[in-house]
Amino acid sequence: MVSTFEEYEVIDLFSGWNPKTDPIINLINLKKWFPISEQSILFSRVVAQIKAVDGVNLFLNKGETLGLVGESGCGKSTTARVTVKLEEPTEGSIYFKGIDIFQPMTREEELAIKRQLQMVFQDPYSSLNPRRMVLDLIKEPFDIHFPDMTYEEKESRVLEILTKVGLEDYHALRYPHEFSGGQRQRIGIARALAIHPEVVLLDEPVSALDVSVQAQILNLLHDLQVEFNLTYMFIAHDLSVIKHVSDRVAVMYLGKIMEMSPTGELFRKTAHPYSVSLLSAIPRPDPRIKMDRIILEGDVPSPINPPSGCPFHPRCYKAQEICSQVTPTLDELEPGHFVACHFPEI
């Protein structure tokens, strides 16, 4: 059984939230722009904005896994970083259990929110401090969120979570370089889950791993989700991984959500031309299949100066004049199936 933190005083901010009807996380028109500035001798001025996230609407329901998929540079990781309060948004808001997490609040309230939102990073080789032992690495979240906890209790909780992620007691006294990539990712997961968050943002947790190890980590994540009743936002660029883990999928392109729907629906009734080409680009592991694939021309445009209208129109096979002028909104075409396209396939 999972030991909880009942004996510790935790601020309850979320009394107004109803898990049955409301999403646990709700991103509304989220924008995150990074300024590029030019230095002169005295002044620096902003010459352009990198529109990494440019109006994202997205929600997560309690207990589900939302897969966020897209090519590199489309704003997946930035979305996740803003959602866990690692970055301030430029515009828009994020509601966690009905509370705007960027509203002014006390340090205690902020910690209470951050404790519930944890993140697992992509690269297990650079996301762990090489000079700290695993014990200290996993103990750190307790030091921040439960300063009153005794050392012995922290230690026993570290050992408990280590076993949960499939490592041994003696691993606690080792340093990150002594572990393989898969084991390091287990440490990263243990660090995120140690303080029992409700929502975990997994930023490409398996893309640096070998296929056979990737399968182990995916199974582990699934077991932990069931055991701790976790809500996942799973970021990946590999569609077969996304399809395997997600209940719902959101497809992102140049800072915007193109399509969001239940997983089966997305693969069966793909509506957005970008999703269609993305699916058709995956190489299938069967030598007998000869594919007729849609090969997109060119590269993803720069987010500094994204195309007008629909950001996908310069590469789209269905683009018409309207696509370059009017930005399509994310509309619910069928229950639960949202598409931002003027000419969807359904």
Partner: protein
Amino acid sequence: MKMAKTILDVQDIYTYFYTESGVVEALDGVSFDVYQGEPVGIVGESGCGKTVTAKSTLRILDKNGKTVAGKIIYKGVDLLELPDLQMRKIRGKEIAMIFQDPMTSLNPIFKIDDQMTEVIALHRNCSRREALEYALEALEQVGIADAAARIKDYPHQFSGGQRQRIFIARALALQPSLLIADEPTTALDVTIQAQILELIKEMQKKHGLAMMLITHNLGVVAETTKRVHIFYGGRVVESGPTEDIFIDPKHPYTRALFDSIPSLEKDKHRLATIPGLVPRLINPPKGCRFHPRCKFATEICMRERPPDVIIDKQKGRRVQCHHFEELDLHVDDSTMKERTSIKEET
């Protein structure tokens, strides 16, 4: 079936790295062949010796590495016996290599034209002016728009996909007979990966190139290659035509590797995993190197190295397993379908 001519015949090579912590037996008796004009896949997880094989062939191993035994016969000549000066003429001119990371494989401080014309002038014995023409022709072939102007740009002015195209153009401008592509699409996004694979396939057919495609992506292998060599722990555990390997694998590792790919099939079932880790080659397991992770392993597997059994000489079907005759690892149609289908039937 017409008998193809062998262009590269690697016979029982051993490559060791001498490190502070001991001798790494990176290649332990590797034998395989590549036919003229044929794309061959080299498949395995990281650390299995794929890249070391390529580097041994070109004799570009790091200083602490050495191929201590074996023969690498290229067009009838043993590359390991060649004097350095002649080996230089083989590299690039006869055997070209494309690397994984297009961000680091071009020199960032030279313009594209310098980087291309230098090698072309050297290897094709022509003037710089002629070399520039060859370079432009090659760039146009690989689909760099406005090549004449862009050849004056620096590598950082190109996207990842374009850099990989430039690298391919540089390799092909020398008109090699054998192309070694080391994970050419791993660093790229799916839609760009599809573009580059299409380009490589087209170039391979057009120039009648023999190709060694090193990859861990089984989808890429299935679509691109005619034959496959499966590597594990510095040995070739299985070889044969791509279709046979995918549908009727003989080695337990091959089957386990294929089973651990997340399928695009609907159910959220658990992935089959291979227990344990890729072996470290400093002190590799005795006998069959896969035995600690193999569910069919018996006492003989721990003791004796499995012999290299030729099952079908005509097809080049070989396997290194003590028990392959007793095992039925055939992949039935429904499993195959699960692995590959995107649109599931409902």
